[in-house]
Amino acid sequence: MMIKTSRPRPQDIRVDFKLIAQMIKPGSRVLDVGCASGTLLSYLVETNNVDGRGIELSQTGVNECVAKGLSVIQGDADKDLIDYPDRGFDYAILSQTLQATHRPKEVIEQLLRVGKKAIVSFPNFAHWRCRAYLAFKGRMPVTSSLDYDWYETPNIHFCTLLDFTALCAELDIKIEKSVIIDANGRVLKTQSLGKRANFFGMQCVFQLSL
């Protein structure tokens, strides 16, 4: 996927990547869906010694990955995951891409078919800043991390932390681990995935299994 998405600020990306890396066992087989220019994938190869593969929609992204020595194919999270064999990967990662997919539910199901575990990170649309923006300005939130106007955003399927956990429940998906990050890139102390996390959490990282 082309991640022209609600790209968090650089320091947040590093937090996000670090959290994902902490979830992944060294030496695993990893598929990064929507790997952009391969920053996360290279990071995982370096820090976790993973056997990494990627899918990326944009040709420039694929070329950048290939030039880094990564094995990446040009493809679409919505359409091309179906081509991967069952459980060929230890982890299938969807980092900051869920909200840009056409069929998020099917994509999550596919992630858990091709990967024994899935790791999904996304921006929480119920973060208090988004709520405040909508409540007081009456306009679709455009913030530093969601910096697109409504008519040109690639982010077509925003969800909140609670929406996501509800979908997992509906699909009988087990949330094995979760880390919620606030607007300052700090991990929320609360472990529960309740209303408080849904209010203060800006980024969510989930490790899922069936």
């Binding site: 087989r29 593969r53 040709q59 694929v62 070329n63 950048e64 990955c65 290939v66 030039a67 880094k68 020595g69 990564l70 094995s71 990446v72 194919i73 040009q74 493809g75 081509d83 991967y84 064999p85 060929g88």
Partner: protein, 380 residues
Amino acid sequence: MSIIPPESNHHSVILGKDQPMPLDCGAMLSDISVSYNTYGTLNEAKTNAILICHAMTGDQYAASKQPTTGKEGWWTSMIGPGKVLDTDKYFLVCSNVLGGCMGTTGPKDIDPKTGESYGLKFPMITIADMVRTQALLQDYLEIPDWFSVVGGSMGGMQVLQWASAYSERCFSAIPIATAAKHSAQNIAFHEVGRQAVMADPDWQGGNYYNSDRVPRAGLAVARMAAHVTYLSETALHRKFGRNLQDRDNLTYGFDADFQVESYLRYQGINFVDRFDANSYLYITRAMDYFDLASDHGGSLPKAFEGSKTRFCLVSFSSDWLFPTSQSKEVVRALNAAAANVSFVNIETDKGHDAFLLDTPEMLQTMGGFLESTAKIRGIA
């Protein structure tokens, strides 16, 4: 980018002298003449050799003057000092395929049994046979493994065959605009071409070598039909539209009124000077027979099982001869076999021919892939 053509060396060698090479059809072939060009220098560790596989009507003159036509090589955009296939860095080998007509044993050569040209007595050959011959050449050159095997179209079929049959002998593979099998449509086009050749009375059942007649008309028609398949409709339209050739009005006759007709006739006529009609029959047949999955019990992933080769596939969006879907099929199989695979589908309206043209996105993809792979291999 340098415009100076790379230094090339043309060689010929007789292979399979002591031990005849078995062909897929069951026949044995010995004393196989192989003609090839090399560019660049083999390093001491022998880790920088790249095999370039040419397409159906290509030859070993990938980046040097073709002796018959006097034209520049077919991949000069790719090969040279500082270019993607960098002759300062890599040792490039490009050999004429088995069944060809530019110095490697083919139907126009003398059958040692009869002392006359083989003609149709030449055994039927396959893509795998072409690759076997190249493997003999690799042994002869004492290159333990290719750093990469690269090729487009039929060249890409050879790359896939290499990676499947001799995975341990190719560190990386770049199949471009190709497929793991020839489609019904492609077989159909080839059959049209072959029938055009065979319908020419000058073909004489393939025994035209000692006569003063060669099937020029038939081979030219075959080339014309094939050439259309190399271009996209958009490219044809952009190049020619309905423009008239050197005239202001229609002539109400069968002259080449349209530029596109004149272009195809030119393509056809030029081709017959440099290509042998029987070679055309044999090589098109070899492509038709290619089906990597059927060689592995119908499973394409099996063809690549356990492969350590690093793959980079390239397809072109407007290629209808080897459409993107066929490259994706290979990618899918490689993924199923847990191989290392990268893949790019390049947006272009140039059709199948894009792999021979100066297509910047292709050069970038291949350049990036080769450079990073060279680092992994430890080639400076």
